[in-house]
Each structure stands twice: as structure tokens, then as C-alpha cells.
Symmetry: D2
Subunit: 428 residues, 4 copies
């Protein structure tokens, strides 16, 4: 996608006179040879001008359009499905896909979009990641030509909403033991019936198409099925929302309950079998998390820094004057800078076909762990005030716990890495 | 208070056939010479039989009466003021006070009560701590004979609800800079008028009597005032609730806004001046937190252990079989055991008049820090399921952040200890 | 042992006019109601007057007699075997044993002795622990009446030096797989021959009697054998020293190499079979470590505090003025205080027959881990100067790594605790 | 420097039949699209072919020539000055300098050399860093044309050995308060006399030329002086070695004691004044540490991995099978990968003139901190065996403490970063 396209997209946006402080700071970059706490190791120098333009577009949209909504959305556990349409209009959905109305940008550019969204809220990023990486990415990689034509253009516009059904209630970290089953339809030729339950599925209550992974009874192998809600007879598909979540409350999460749900043969991914399919989708989504999560951490740094400069205690000194506060900021800033560089490097390797899943395990694990750790430490700077949701930091802290645990819980990624390092597996 | 009295109190409670698992486990103690994960270093051996009886009474009430309410209360940010009446009936309020209808138990026994309440929820414990330690304790220690007679018996029954107004919006960790002022009433002889604002005040929206610390204009010294809501002319006292909190949602928190609020001279504490008054109250409350918080940690351990035994992944092994899970449980259990012993020791010293504020800084800081740290680590055992509030662990994690930060943020206590150790202050 | 005896022991010591700063500070205790950074939670209040007297005697000996020797001994990897004689004269060896010339003091008192020694150096404490807990303790608990009479009195005086041979080169954490074997002597009736190798054996190069655990060929069960060096024919027992150690260089460590070494039947422990024997000895030694190690940590605190007060940087401020330094001191002091209380509690339970091995795993693990962690953090206060061995802190840091790893490496104790908490073992 | 030159240099080296395991593993790189635990995020893809060749040359020399010497050198606290000659022959000294017989390679290439050396031992790297970055770099940047001509060619060959005298006994972290003074020579025109003391000076006892920073009495400003040992009258320059170090024992460290030492005017750096001079030198040296230290960490990983695969406990499982061990390896490997990428990025920026001192503070601090942290954690895998110096890990752990503390102690760099982030200084 050309820089021009992004600029023109942008024209459609209301031009507010007063941006929030974040938007401002990200719009103006520091002069080249000064230390910039927002990009301490000058990761920008590694980006192309197209990537910088995409990032700017995404940041502006997020700060102007998403940030004002998030506080209330989080309180109410409400996800505004219109957000996906807005993102679609800007070309932010499935952005790394070539064709089908998608932007065809680099992997790093895709990550810069997730970072911009996650700077506002990990829940918003989750909603987008599911649409872009898990479902669109899955269809693009494994779908038939017809499947791609049928779904991708509408999904790119945010008109068709997707969900990704892999995790089951009893098999969180071990999807290979899934129980959801696809059997030949007892009456209807050319159809399977799917039965089983999936849980913790982002977007499931509002999804139009659900990419459900199930074992094909005939082979015992896992296959991918595109379940279209509008074609499911009553009672065969339920997608109840899960409410009262501790985090990611600005995203919508639910279950997928299938009871003899008929799905035509042509809605099954034609070739991919086993865990290769879902793991490949997860791999892309995890990449988006690894770079995206840096946005949440950077927002915590920015908020904590502002608070530390404005809040005065003990003879009028700003908190920023205290060594214990400075150390927290230094640690967080370092982890943000390192995590960003690592994610950019893996993005480049991914586009060259050299990134292995273990690399993505490494950056997903480390960046989520460090984002969570530092967000919690930065929260301490706010003292009791962090309890008020208006400071935003508590929301990030709660969200980041979830991101550490989904798409591969941190310890599981440790064992994936341990296996890769030693050649010995330690899962059981 | 005699064991008998506690037993008889108990008789009034509905006897449910089915207790929750926690109630059961705490009712039956393990045989003496076996390792008991719920009390690994046998802290029970340090308790008197009266203390054991009080603890049992409090635990039973909390598990039977509070636990069933907390999930909904936390969701709704609702505090049922009737809880203080129930606690009052059982003799749990102001329990360490002698006379005035109070039980007169040991400091450790008082801490065992807070631990029982905090095993359910730190918010419930906060509501009780304010009533018992901050307000009743303050009146008992610094009030005139008349003040004690007027408030303590009703507060002990939970009929009069108290709040403690020290923290101001701009002076969280540095109350010595407070701005709330008491001036001689311009018209009414024998009266002061109080003006100023206090924030993050537990119970303030429902309090009948508010112990407000303000600078007496004539001397510039901080004094304590008992502000009775029913006697405040309209517009002189407002106590708006603070909503949308990230933690302690089962407690009620608000501001205190005083605008020329008239308070009679006899409602001022007669002698205590300066920070000595509020710090002495805080000292007692902090003690209650230090032992109480162990209840929250122990509940996290219990919940995580149960989950780890019931949840099976990878060839049907329970999570409890994994080394990374066992280490988390071992660490948390150790910190719970150590923190309990330290709190009991300081409680004994307190009753002997030997406990210094720095000792209480030490146990408040360490026990809150370790409870929070371990709760977060234990939460990882639940993976994505921790996001559902039904598992309870997320609620503890959110609460424990607040307890780490109130009544002396952790870093502030570090500097208090640092000063005591080195003789050099490092606040400014 | 009476207070009097300890005092009289003391008379034999040269009375130096100038004590080191440590000796002084430990002789004078702070007034009761002040915060004492050397005993922040007033653990002294839990000790009997006899225990206080024993502690004082041991501290004085260690500061006066051991401290001046340790720097050179550590540099040269030299252990002065005369130290055990000196300790014997003061009644410090096998002190918890009743009779046989031993003092018969409480478990806690025994721990106070190890703490005094370890305040100087963990290597000196190791040498003593092997003599007292592992060998004398083993003989006292499992030896025949004749064995006790033959060895204990001489060992109590430090005239007979013991070593404890359990660990083998290939079975560090898993002694149950040991390969050392005892077979019936092919010629000599009433004798076994022992063959095998033990490693990392404190005192082995200088030991007169070596308590060697070996599998009895006839039963396959582990039994204990008292191997007397003077009775071993040439070539059947070798105990080469292990040199160039990274830590514990003031202790002497070696191997035990047995090649058809003849041992009379009466030198086998009469009844105890399996791992129960060595584990029981280790249990006592671990207790001594758990309390002893607090001495090393306290010495680090004392040295770091002194340095922080004396060293001035940036406009003449002492390091003690810096928040980052104060936090290090506060953390370490807290862990020392907590660890001491926990060890005292377990000591009391041990004397009442209520201490379980898991309790000792808990305090051995936690106290060693925290001592090591804090020693390393305190070392940072010294900056580059810590590289000079004259500041002593580097020696403690190096020693403490070893104590964390011997007598149950920290992770192994985690799994012991994990098993006790969950009922599920995770070793394999 | 061309690849060819490096290859030809190599030809001069003795070709040993059996390399150590490290040499082997670094010689053969893994196939491109596989996870390589030695370079998990494929940092090699960021290097030029010249840089790869330089790295290979340096690695081979270090593994073949330095590794066999280090164990004994460390034991004996012996530094073989011939090493600098060997390095000089290979073009490894002052390698980033253009001309004067230096190789003129990129900053990253310079860092790859330090990494190769530090993979063997941080002490060897320290000796080289002082020569290359602190002294040669200082002369190159601030020296007059004559000074460059006089010293650089001989230093590049290792024939002239340099030392860098900044730190004073009482001003470790605050060189601005230095006391060393240069006064006009009372008799000899065109000369200054220098008086003062420097400490912890690597190479000082064997240095031919000492770059001493001193305050010029006339201006009170800090200036740099090149003190040539051979021209110093007896008694005016003493450089006693500091012995009995806890770490970096394979390097030689000493003091510089100047007593009215005459230095001709032309040996003063002509222009640079104040802390700018020494800080600029330190900046380059710190860069070398930041990338170099990754070599020490990688060697710890390699050694720990090998040990974990070879050591079997509990039913014959290798330690590598245990989750707690795998996590340690995963953590360390991640930090090594991240630290390497960050250092490469800053190296690139340095060559483009865009690297700020704060960037170098960030990578020096983080890489040293993480190297030390992980080395200590990896050491735990060795259990008691780590106490033997033959496993090498203990040596790295001891060295890494020193690297964390020199050239800016970690906390000081935190405050440098904190100041850069907040604009507020917190040193005093």
C-alpha cells in the first residue's frame, strides 16, 4: 500500500484541533541525535518511509478515534463492532495480505498497526488480530481460491467479522487433545456436522464466519472449517458471550457451541491437516502481539512519566526526582526499546522466509512478560491513584495479564524454547 | 473475650449443611507432626486457645456469610453496610479494645480476625479495618472519656459507621503537608469550621462519624476532629463515592469535602497534636493489614492448588505435576508461612509495648509485597481461565495492588526502614 | 549447659582490648523499645537466657578468634584443623547432644552457634556442621552404645575429626542411586569391604573417622559405616583434597575413594536402613544451615551499612543517603529478620518432636536463597571496591552460592515442598 | 580490513587438531531456517561478510589461544602481557581506528572482537578494551598529530601497553570530584608535575603509557596527560598491582600513584577539557563491553546446556529434561539474543554519528545486568559442581559482577537514563 493511499485514507478522518498528548508526541519525532525516551534505540531508523507512514496513520486513527471510547467501553464490557469497519476503511485489516483489497504491507508494518492499536488497548488489538491474523491470515494461507474470494474482501472492509475457534474448555495449552469432531452428515450429502465447544474466543458473539478447528472423524486429523453463522440452522451454533472478565473488557469474548452443525465440504480448508494449520495462524498472530504489546508498554511509560513529572510530594519535588521512580522508568524504557528491536528483526526474517516458530515464541513470551512486569512496576508510581480507572494504567495492567497467557502461556513458550535449545521435551 | 462468648455468638448463625471447601479445610487442622500446607511452620502452635477459638469463629462467619456475597458485590461495586452489623454482633469490631462492649482480645487475635475477613476479600477487610483500627482505635487512644462513651459502644455493634479522613488529593504519601484547616467559627462560639478535601476514604459515603485530621489555624498543628454527619448543615459536608475502581470494589470509597463545616470544640481530640495521632492509628491498622493480607495470599494458594490438581493438560497430567507449577506453590507457601510468623511476633511485642513503628512498616511492606507478588505468580497457573472472575484469583490480585499502596506505599516504607537502619533520611 | 559453664569457657580466651566492630555491636543490645537494625523484629525476645549466653560466647569466640584468620585462610584455601579443637574447648561441637561431654543445649541454641560461626564464614560453619550435625548427630541417633562411647567424647573435644560420605560424583541430588557397595570381606570374617567414591566431602582430607553410606550387597539397602582412617590398610582409603574452589575456600573439601576397604561389622550402624539414616542427619545439618546462614547475611548487612555510611559520592553525601541504597538495605534486613524468626520457630518445633523434614526444606531453601540474593544486592553498594577481598562481601557472596546448592539444591527443595503441598511428585 | 587479511592472519596460527567444543560450535553455523540456540534471532543476518570474517578470526584465536591459558591464569592472578602482542598481530587492537596500522573496521566489528575475547574471559577483554578503546581511542580522538604518530602504531602492535587513569580511591562514580592535580613544574619549563592517585586501573602495573586525567591547577579543568613510564624519574610514578581480587583475575589491575611526576606540555591532549574527554573514551569502551559481555553470557549458556545434557539424575534423565532447567536456559538465551540485537543497532547508529551516550548507558547497563543475572541462574544448573573452577561458570559469574560495576555502575546508569527520560536529575 502506498504512502499516498494512507494519506488519502486519513483525509476522511475528522481533524481535531487538540490531539491527546500521545498523539502529539508520536507525531513529532525528536531530532536525530538526541536521546528520545519514546524510541531510545532509534528503531525508527530501521523502518521504511512507507512503514513510517502506515504507523503514523494508524497511530493517528487510534489516538483520535479509539482512545476517546476506551474508558467507557472497558467499564461496560462493550465492544463496538463498528471499529472493525473503521479499521477496514483505513486499510488496517489483513494488511499484510496481497490482493483481495488488502494493503500488502510488510510484516513489520503489520506489527506497527497492532502497536498503534495496542497503545490504546490490548482488547481492541485482540479484536483486530483475530480478524487479521487468525482468520484472514488462515484463509489466505490455507483456503481454497473460492474461500479467499468469498471472505477476504468483505473481511478486509470489516463487513464480515471473523472468529477463530481452537481452544477448548479442557485443553487450553494442549490443543492436540481437542474433542470437537466433524462427522459426515447423516442425511445431507456433501456436508459435515460439527459438534463440540470452544471457549475464550474473541469476537465469537458477533462473528459472521467462525474458523473452527475440529477433528475429522474419518481420519482423526485436525481440519479447519469455515462456519457461516447465517447458514447454521437454529440450535446448531451458539456463541454466548463471557462476561465479567478481569481484563480485555473492551474486546468481546465468548464460547462457540456446536451441536450437529452442518457445514458444506467446500467450507473445509482443502489441504492442511493437523496442528500445522492453527499453529501457522497463531504464529502470525503472535508476531502481531509481540510488536503490538510494546504499544501498551510504551503507553504505560508515557502515562507514568507524565504523572511523575506532575505529581509533587515532599517539599514540592516531582516524583520524577526520586531515584526509586527513575529506576522504574529506566527499566521499562529499556525493555520497550529492546523488545521493539527484536520484533522488527523477526519481522524482517519472516518476510525473508527465515523466521522459525521458536523465534516467535521467544519474542511473544519475552515482550509480553516484560510488558506486564514493567506495567505493574510503573503502576506503583501512581500510588493509590492507580485505583481510579481514569489513569488508564490499571487497565493496561489487567489487559497485559491476559496477553501473557493467551496464544501460548508464558511457561509453555519457555518449554518450547527449552526444547529447541536442548532437543529434549519437558511438557510431560 | 472468652471462648464461650465466641461459641455462643456462633450459635446465632445459620448452620449451612454444605460449607465451601475453604471453610472445611480451616475447620479441621492437620495432625500435629505432618506437614500442613495451610500452616507449614505450625504458626497455630503460637496461639492461645482463645485466639484459636476467635479465629475459628471469624473464619466460619466469613466463609459462610461473606464469601457467597463477594462475587456479585465486586462486580457491582456494592458494599453492604449490614456487614458491619453482622461483624458487630459477633464481637469482631474494635476487638482489641477493652470495655465499651468490645472484646478486649490480644493484638494477634485482632489480626486473626482481619485475616479471616481478608481470606474472602481485602475490600471487606478494609471496611472493617477503618471501623476498628482507624476510627475506634483512634477514639480509644486519643478521645476524651465522653467521646469514647458516645461513639465506641455503637461502633462496636456496627450501628455507627466510621471513616478516617487523612489523605488529601495532593498529599498522598506526605500527610504533613495537608491543607484541610480548622478555624474558629466566625459566629458560633465553641465551634470550629473545617474546610478542605480528603480522598480515597474507605466508608466515607456511608459513614456516620468521620474522624477528620486538619490543621488548627491558631497553632498550625494537626488535630483530630469527630465530624458527625447528622449534625452537619446542608452543603458543609459532601462524601461522594469514587466509582469505577480497579480494585477493592467490594468496599466503598469516597471523598470528604468540607466547606465551613461546623464542629463543636468537644469533638476535637483533647490532647494529641501533629502527625503522632494519625500515625498511631495507622500503626494499628497496618498491623491488621500485615496479618490480614496473609489470608488473601492463603486463599490464592488454596485456589491455585485446587485448580492445579483438577486441571489436566498433556496426557492427563494435573498441572500440579509440572515443576514450574510446583515452584510457584512452594514460593507462595513459604512467604505465607514466614509472613504469618513475623506478624505474630510483632503482635506479641505490641502487646508488651515493645513494637516500634518501623517493625510495623517492615511487616506491612513485606507481607503486602509478597502477597501481591505471589498472587500474581499463582494467577499464572490458571492461564486464560483467570480472566473469568469466578475463579476469584483475579479479584485478589487486583485488591492486593491496592493494599500494597495504601497506608504507606511500599517504597515509602522502604525509606522509613532505610532511615531507621542508617540514621539518614532519603525522602527528599 | 549452664550459663556459668559458657562464661567459664570464655575465661580461657585471650581478652583483646579492641574488638572488631561486629563483636562490639553484638555484645551491646539496643534498648528495648527502639528499632534495632541488627534484630529488627526482636528475635532475642524469643530466646532463653541460656541461649543468649551461648550465643554471646560463640559470637565472641568467632569475632575474636576466627575473624582475624579468615581472610588469609580463604586466599590460601587453608583450613586450620585446630579450629575444631578450640570449638571443642568451648563446648560448641555436638552441642545439642546430651551426655558424652556434650552441652545438651536446645536446637535453637545449636543454631545460634552456627550463626555465630557463619557470621565469620560459611566455610568455618561447614566444617563445624559436618562434625556436629552430620557425624556426631548421626552416631548419636543411629550408633550403637559402643560407637557412641568410642567416638562422641573425642569428637566433642575436636580431637577426632569426622567426615560424612553420602554424595557421589554421579548422584548429587539423588543419593538413592548411590554405587558405593559394602560386601562381605572375602577372607576376613566379621568384616565388610567397601568400594566406591564420594565427592564434595567437607573435612575428608583431615578426617579421622568417615561416616560412609554404602549399599550392603546382601540386601541392596543403604547402611552407615564408620570408617576409621588409622585402621585402613594402605591403598584402601584415599581422601584427596579438591582445590581451586570458587567458594567455601576456608573449609577443606575432598573426595573419599574406597577400594576394598575393610570395615569391621561393629562399625556399621546397627539398625538404620535406607535413606532414612542419611536424611535424618541432613535434616539436623540443614537446620543448622537455615539459622546459621542468617549470620552471613547479617554480616553482609553490617558491612554494607558501614560502607554506605562512610563512602561519600556526589557532593559529599554518604551512599546511605541514596534511595536505591536504602532499598537494598531495607530488603536485606527484612529477609534476615523473617528468616531468623522462621528458624527459631522450627527449632522449637524440633525440640517438641513436631518438625517435619518439609519444614526444614522450607527454611533451608528460603534462608539460603534470600541470603544469597541479598548478599549479591548488597555487594552492589560497594561498587568496584567489592572486588577487593578485604571488604569481605565478595567472600560471603561466593560462599553463599555453595550453601544454596549443598544439602539439597534450592530447586530440589522446591520440588520437595511442591510434593508436600500437592501430593504429586515432579522429580521425574 | 578485508576478509582476506583476516584469513591470512589466521594462517599464522597453530592449527590444533582438537578444538574445544566452543570453537567447533562457533565454526559451523546452523542452516538458515532452523532455530539456532547460539543465535536465536539470527543476528548474523545483520552483519556484513567482512564482519563475519573478523568475528570468525577473533573467535578462532580466542578459542585456540586464549581458552587454554585462562584457567591457570585466573587461579594465579596472572596476566600474560604477550597476549596483547598476539592480538596486535591479528589486527585486533584499536581495530575501529583508521590508519596508524589499525584495521579501520566498523564499530560492530570492533564489538564482535570484544565478544570473542569475552567469550573466553572478561578479564582478557578488559585488558584489550583498555588498550583499544580507552587509550588508543582517546589518543585517536583527542591527541595531537604527533601524539597519534608516536603511540598508535606501537599500541596497535601490542608493543606499547596503555592504561587509563580516571577513577580515584574516593571518587568512583563521581569523577568530576577528582583530586589529581597538574601544576606547572616549579623548575622545568615546558613541564607540568602531576600528583594524585588512581585506583582499579587495568594494566597499570605493566603499562608503558598511562593516560592520566588530572585537573590543571591554572584552570581547574580536567585535562588528559600521556605519562610515559620510561621518562618518569624514580619515585614519581608507582603502579602497584592490586592482588587477591574476587573477579577478573586473568587481568592485571593496579593503582597509579603520582608524586610530582614531570610530564612535558606536549604530552597533554591539546584541546579537550572537562569530563567530555574521559566520558567520550568511556563511551567507546562501554560499547565494547555491551556487545562483548554477550560473549560471556553465551559461553555460560553453552556450558550449562552441555552440562544439562550430559548430567543425569533421577532415573537417568538428563537435567535438560527438567522444566526448571529449561526455563533457565530459555531466559538466558532470550536475553543473549535481545542484547546482541540492541548492541548491533547502537553500533550502526554510532557509525552514523547518531548514537547518544544514553543509548550506550542503556545497552551497557542492560547487557551487563542480564549477563550477570543469567550467569548466576545458569550456575545453579551445575549444583555443587560449579564450585570447581574447571566448569568455568563460576569464573564468568565472578567476572560479570565486576563488569556490572565498572565503567558506570548499574544504578548510576539507571540515573543517567532516568535523567534523560524525565529531564530531572536524581544523583543528589
Amino acid at each position: 500500500m502506498s504512502r499516498l493511499l494512507y494519506r488519502s485514507c486519513l483525509r476522511g478522518l475528522p481533524q481535531r484541533a487538540v490531539l491527546t498528548h500521545n498523539a502529539r508526541t508520536f507525531a513529532t519525532s525528536a531530532p536525530r541525535s538526541q536521546f528520545d525516551w519514546q524510541d531510545p534505540l532509534m528503531s525508527k531508523s530501521l523502518l521504511t518511509s512507507d512503514e513510517l507512514a502506515i504507523s503514523e496513520t494508524a497511530e493517528r486513527y487510534c489516538q483520535e478515534q479509539l482512545l476517546p471510547r476506551v474508558l467507557q467501553a472497558y467499564r461496560d464490557e462493550h465492544y463496538d463492532a463498528h471499529i472493525l469497519r473503521e479499521m477496514g476503511e483505513l486499510g488496517l485489516l489483513g494488511a499484510t495480505i496481497e490482493g483481495y483489497g488488502c494493503a500488502g504491507v510488510s510484516t513489520v508494518a503489520g506489527g506497527l498497526i497492532t502497536r498503534a492499536v495496542e497503545r490504546v488497548d490490548s482488547g481492541y488489538r485482540s479484536g483486530m488480530s483475530v480478524q487479521s491474523s487468525l482468520v484472514m491470515g488462515g484463509i489466505y494461507e490455507f483456503g481454497s481460491a473460492e474461500q479467499k474470494e468469498r471472505y477476504l474482501p468483505g473481511m478486509a472492509k470489516g463487513e464480515i467479522i471473523g472468529a477463530f475457534g481452537l481452544t477448548e474448555p479442557n485443553h487450553g495449552s494442549d490443543p492436540g487433545s481437542m474433542e470437537t469432531m466433524a462427522r459426515p452428515h447423516p442425511q445431507k450429502k456433501g456436508y459435515y456436522v460439527l459438534s463440540g465447544a470452544k471457549t475464550w474466543i474473541t469476537n465469537s458473539p458477533i462473528a459472521d464466519v467462525l474458523l473452527v478447528w475440529a477433528k475429522l472423524q474419518e481420519t482423526g486429523k485436525i481440519r479447519g472449517f469455515l462456519v457461516e453463522r447465517k447458514n447454521c440452522p437454529a440450535g446448531t451454533l451458539e456463541t454466548p458471550a463471557i462476561k465479567n472478565k478481569n481484563g480485555l473488557r473492551a474486546s468481546i469474548t465468548g464460547m462457540i457451541q456446536l451441536e450437529d452443525c452442518p457445514v458444506p465440504h467446500e467450507n473445509m480448508f482443502p489441504e492442511v491437516e493437523g496442528l500445522k494449520g492453527p499453529f501457522s495462524c497463531l504464529n502470525s498472530a503472535r508476531y502481531g502481539i509481540a510488536l503490538g504489546i510494546m504499544g501498551a508498554l510504551e503507553d504505560c511509560i508515557s502515562r507514568a512519566r507524565t504523572y511523575a513529572l506532575e505529581r509533587k510530594q515532599f517539599k514540592g519535588n516531582p516524583l520524577a526526582k526520586y531515584q526509586l521512580v527513575q529506576k522504574k522508568l529506566a527499566d521499562a524504557t529499556t525493555d520497550a526499546a529492546y523488545g521493539t528491536l527484536a520484533a522488527i528483526q523477526v519481522g524482517r526474517l519472516k518476510d525473508q522466509g527465515k523466521a522459525t516458530p521458536e523465534m516467535i515464541s521467544m519474542i511473544k513470551r519475552q515482550n509480553c512478560d516484560r510488558a506486564l512486569y514493567n506495567a505493574r512496576v510503573l503502576q506503583e508510581i501512581f500510588g493509590g491513584n492507580a485505583v481510579s480507572d481514569e489513569y488508564g494504567i490499571g487497565r493496561h495492567v489487567a489487559n497485559l495479564y491476559v496477553t501473557q497467557t493467551y496464544e501460548g502461556q508464558s511457561d509453555i513458550h519457555s518449554l518450547i524454547l527449552g526444547r529447541a535449545i536442548t532437543g529434549v521435551q519437558a511438557f510431560v
